[in-house]
Every structure is written in structure tokens, then in C-alpha cells.
């Protein structure tokens, strides 16, 4: 990387820091810090959600998988986008109506304080661990792309800037730096796509030089085959329904309908966007075949093909993708600790000033923990695998307990939730560490056990009070805020236009699943049908978000 590129990167970091710090004055109370005063508009929300979801894993890791296994890895992003739409239309509006800030807070509203404390405590560690992995992978990728080997420089670039501006401006800083970073990310990808495609002879050259399976979206065989698409779609729904980093941004929406619109927009926007980093991954497999580590594909492409100055801006785009993920999750951990643990364990009500101080202190401390942890990951080995295991063990039982039973079955009790969550997680731990099951099976077991234990325990324990249950069940239909504003978002549509939108949406689901399953027989049109189904799904989702 040339000196001019380094100057561009440093200037970008300074600007990001200044933009983030500008919002210090906007934070007057905890709601400003946690959820940007619940004033985020659909476009800002969509950019914020997209920036959080797209990180260096997308640009380097996923493109690396495209390099090795072909284009079918695209479904990881596409089904995630479909899950965002599902969650935005049906799940998050309920939580937004309850005016909560965290998922554990929802658990207290649905179950009791003990469930909230347990999950809040466990999730502080889960998110802090994730942050360490994110920082480590960012540093390693940046070293490879730029040739700057200094670990301390990259730690500074990624962590210190994000920690300080998140600490000062909370979600306001996170939101507006996310918007800026989203534009940089997109700009970087727009530079790399034509350069890499021109080098392989554009699309005809790519088709001619790659084996057929590399360009098949729904594959009959291989690691990323049709079964993978269905499994990752289900996991995506779980992720889009309980991930604190994601949900906290959605809770910042100015209204329930904004949540639906923002999440649907985020899902639709990231769909073509995903091609911008996966196609260069395919091009790299033609240009630099036989790389031992596929994660080197994009760094190599950048270092060999992108000229100075432009490289500086592309690297800013890559740094952006990681800064937004780090800042959002830092804010998430600070919120979880302050909102779910500190405020709950204190005997007297904390003042706004005190809560803000603790939230900022936590952002700083978790930031330090992230840096410390990132230094140790090289010695631990397999951190990403460990992270995937944690998702299987901790996230899936939470989805079953909080969303599946919590929203659908009134008889689910607090004791059932605690034992269901703990037994599901424990079964996952045993499956993973005693029987050495893979990630898919571990996830299936932890979900299955939680699914079985909760109803059994609930059957023998006392149901929650009707008042408590009614407040959650009422949120499925409306809220005082919406009634006052005269803008009710109907999860189950009432108008004909709304019903038609839902029909289009459901048709999309069926066509998509049909296309994916037909891929099991190697039907040549399976990919086309699945993509058409996805497009109809998005169209129906968008219509449902804006109608009724």
C-alpha cells in the first residue's frame, strides 16, 4: 500500500471519529444512547442494519468460499435477507410496540425478571466474545490486504476509534457512522467488481473458464447444496429474531411501520449488493487458482489490481464494514449490561446521568476486553468455529424459548423458559464437546431439547399472570403509540391490499422452497425458480410493509 493510501485511510478514520463524536451532545437520556431516541427513519435504519450485517467476513470470507465452492454461498446472504424481511414484518414490530431496548427485557415482559437476568448475563459474554473474533479477523484481513503488518496499528484503526465514538454518542453515533460506512463499503465494492470482471473477460469469460457447478445457485451436491440453503434460511430467521446487535437498531425506529419498512429495505438492498463481493471471488478463482487459503483471494485481487489512491478508498470501505459491526455490538453489550443487569440489581432507581455513565464505562471496558481477547485468539485456534458453536448453543434455545413459545403459547411459564433454555444450551454443549457433533447437529439438538423441555416443565408449573400475558398479546395487534398517531401497522393484514400483499409474500415462500427442494434432483431450472420465488417474496414483503 502506497503512502497516499495510508494518508487516505488515516483521514477516513479521523473523519469517522469526528462524525461519531459530533453526536455526544445529542445524548440526553438513556434512550438516546441505547436506541437513538427512537427516531431512526426507514432509510437510515436500512443503512444501519445493512452496515452491521455486512462485514469483512462478507468481503473476504464469503468471497473466499465463492472462490473455493462457487456462487451457491450467495444464499447465506440472500436467505439472511429473507429472514430480515420475515422478522421485520412479523416479529420485531411486536417488540417495538413494547418499547423495549433488549431481548432480555422482552423476556421479563413475557416471563419474569429471573429469565431476563439469566439471559442478559449470558449474552453480555456472548457478544463480548463475538467482538473479539470480529476484531481479530479484521486485523488479519487488513494485514493481508495492505501489507502493513503492525498488529497495534490495526487494533488502533479498528478498535480505538470505534470505542471512543460509540462511548460518546451511543446509538446516534453508531447510526450515522453506519450510514457513512455503508456508502464507503458500497463504493469499494463498485470499484472491485468491474476491475475483476474485465480481467476474466466479463461474464462470458467467467462462464467459459469456470466449472459448471461454480455458477449453479441451487446445487444437488457439495457442501453448499440445497440442504444448506434450507438450514441457513431457518437459522437466519432465528438470527433476525433474537440478535441483540441487530434488534437494538430496529428498536431505534421512529414507529412500528418504520421497523417493517426499514428491515424490508435492508433485506432487499443487500441482495444485489451480495453479488458485488461474490462475483470478484469467482473471478479470483480464474485469475489466481490453487490458493492454499481461499481467504487470500480478495486480498490478492485488491493488491494486484486496484491502483493507488483508489486502493486507499477501497480499504476505507473494508475498514468501514468492520467498524460498523464493532460499534453496533459494543453499544449492544453496554445496553445489555446497563439495562438488564445493572438497573435490575440496583435497589434504587438509577438517575439518567448515572445510567449514561455506566453505559459509557461498559462500552469502554468491553472495548478493552475485545482488544485483550483479540490478542489471544491466535493462540486459541479455531475461534470462528467456536463462535459458530456458541450460536448453536446459545442463540437457538433463546429463539425457541423467547420467540417460538414466548409469542405463540400462552401456557409457557418462566420455570419452563429457564429450564428449557438451560437444558437446550447444556445439550448443545454435551453434543459439541462430548460427542463432537458438527455445528448443524449441535444447533438441531439444542433447539430440539429446548422445544421438548419447556412444555413439559410448563405443564407442571403455574402460568404467568393474565395481565402480563395480555400486554404481550396486545402488542401483536396494536399499541397506544400507534393508536394515538392513527397509524396502525397490521401484522395480520385487514385491508384487501394488505391481504393481497401477504398472498404474494406467501406465494414467494412456496416458490422459493419448491425451487430449492427441486434442486435435490438436479433439475436444471431449480436455481431460476428459487430466485424467482425470492424476488416474489421480497415484492410481497415490501407491499405488506407499505400497505395496511
Amino acid at each position: 500500500m502506497a503512502v497516499i493510501d495510508i494518508i487516505i485511510v488515516v483521514a477516513f478514520l479521523v473523519i469517522t471519529f469526528l462524525v461519531g463524536s459530533f453526536f455526544y451532545k445529542w445524548v440526553g437520556d438513556p434512550d438516546d444512547f441505547y436506541v437513538a431516541g427512537r427516531k431512526l427513519t426507514p432509510f437510515i435504519l436500512a443503512a444501519v442494519i445493512t452496515a452491521t450485517n455486512v462485514n469483512l467476513y462478507s468481503f473476504v470470507g464469503q468471497a473466499g468460499i465463492a472462490y473455493q465452492h462457487g456462487i451457491s454461498i450467495l444464499w447465506q446472504t440472500w436467505t439472511g435477507n429473507m429472514a430480515l424481511v420475515f422478522s421485520g414484518l412479523f416479529i420485531i414490530p411486536i417488540m417495538r410496540r413494547l418499547r423495549i431496548r433488549t431481548v432480555p427485557e422482552f423476556l421479563e415482559k413475557r416471563y419474569n425478571r429471573k429469565v431476563r437476568l439469566l439471559v442478559g448475563f449470558l449474552w453480555v459474554f456472548r457478544l463480548a466474545f463475538w467482538l473479539g473474533v470480529v476484531l481479530y479477523t479484521a486485523v488479519v484481513a487488513a494485514q493481508a490486504i495492505t501489507g502493513i503488518e503492525s498488529y497495534v496499528f490495526w487494533i488502533f484503526a479498528f478498535a480505538v476509534v470505534a470505542i471512543i465514538y460509540t462511548m460518546l454518542g451511543g446509538m446516534w453515533s453508531v447510526a450515522f457512522t453506519d450510514v457513512m460506512q455503508f456508502v464507503f463499503m458500497l463504493g469499494g465494492a463498485l470499484v472491485v467488481l468491474p476491475l475483476s470482471m474485465a480481467a476474466v473477460g466479463w461474464m462470458p469469460g467467467l462462464i467459459e473458464k469456470l466449472p459448471e457447478f461454480s455458477l449453479t445457485l441451487v446445487r444437488e451436491t457439495g457442501t453448499y447444496n440445497w440442504k444448506f440453503i434450507l438450514a441457513i434460511f431457518l437459522l437466519g430467521i432465528e438470527w433476525a429474531s433474537v440478535d441483540q446487535g441487530l434488534l437494538q437498531r430496529a428498536f431505534g425506529a421512529e414507529s412500528t411501520r418504520t421497523v417493517a419498512k426499514g428491515m424490508v429495505l435492508a433485506g432487499i438492498v443487500t441482495t444485489p449488493f451480495a453479488l458485488l463481493w461474490n462475483l470478484p471471488g469467482l473471478a479470483a478463482s480464474v485469475l489466481y487458482p490453487g490458493l492454499e487459503n481461499p481467504d487470500q483471494a480478495i486480498p490478492m485481487l485488491l493488491s494486484k489490481m486496484v491502483p493507488p489512491v483508489i486502493l486507499g478508498f477501497v480499504v476505507c470501505g473494508l475498514i468501514s464494514s468492520q467498524l460498523s459491526t464493532i460499534s453496533g455490538n459494543l453499544n449492544g453489550v453496554a445496553t445489555l449490561f446497563t439495562n438488564d443487569i445493572y438497573e435490575n440489581l440496583k435497589k434504587r432507581k438509577a438517575t439518567n446521568k448515572e445510567v449514561l455513565f455506566i453505559a459509557r464505562l461498559m462500552t469502554f471496558l468491553v472495548g478493552l476486553f475485545m482488544i485483550f481477547f483479540a490478542f489471544f485468539i491466535p493462540m486459541m485456534g479455531g475461534a470462528v468455529e467456536a463462535y459458530l458453536t456458541i450460536i448453536g448453543i446459545m442463540d437457538m434455545p433463546l429463539f425457541i424459548v423467547g420467540i417460538f413459545y414466548g409469542l405463540l403459547w400462552k401456557k409457557a411459564t418462566s420455570a419452563g423458559a429457564i429450564l428449557g433454555y438451560l437444558s437446550g444450551a447444556l445439550a448443545g454443549v454435551i453434543g459439541k464437546f462430548v460427542y463432537m457433533f458438527d455445528f448443524n447437529l449441535t444447533t438441531f439438538i439444542s433447539a430440539g431439547v429446548a422445544l421438548l423441555v419447556l412444555p413439559i416443565v410448563s405443564y407442571f408449573t403455574k402460568s404467568e399472570s393474565e395481565v402480563k400475558l395480555n400486554s404481550v398479546w396486545k402488542a401483536k395487534t396494536t399499541s397506544e403509540e400507534e393508536e394515538k398517531a392513527g397509524q396502525i401497522y397490521n401484522i395480520i393484514p385487514k385491508s384487501n391490499r394488505g391481504k393481497l400483499s401477504l398472498t404474494v409474500y406467501l406465494s414467494g415462500v412456496l416458490i422459493f422452497i419448491g425451487g430449492v427442494i427441486s434442486g435435490s434432483s438436479g433439475w436444471p431450472f431449480a436455481s431460476l425458480v428459487a430466485v424467482v420465488g425470492m424476488v416474489i417474496y421480497f415484492a410481497g414483503g415490501y407491499l405488506k410493509a407499505v400497505n395496511d
Binding site: 456508502v183 463504493g187 465494492a189 463498485l190 470482471m197 461474464m203 444485489p272 449488493f273 458485488l276
Partner: protein
């Protein structure tokens, strides 16, 4: 000269998204800033 419609269509969609996401958030930020100034004035 060969023109790759597929690649450039994807690129164009990306460009449009980028332009929209520069224009609309700036507009919305200005509105938020205005609201905040009004709020500050009414507070003082």
C-alpha cells in the same frame, strides 16, 4: 467492444443504491438537526 450487460446492470443497481443512500440520509439528518435545534430553543 463487448458490453457486459449483466455485470454493468449489477453495478448500476449498486450505484443507484449508493446515490440514494447518500441523498436521503443527508436530507433526513438535516431534518433531525432542525428538530433538535427547535427543541433546544424551546428548552432555553
Amino acid at each position: 467492444m463487448y458490453f457486459d450487460w449483466i455485470t454493468w446492470s449489477i453495478w448500476l443497481i449498486g450505484l443507484i443504491i449508493m446515490i440514494v443512500w447518500i441523498y436521503v440520509p443527508i436530507k433526513e439528518f438535516r431534518k433531525l438537526l432542525q428538530d433538535r435545534k427547535q427543541m433546544d430553543q424551546s428548552d432555553s
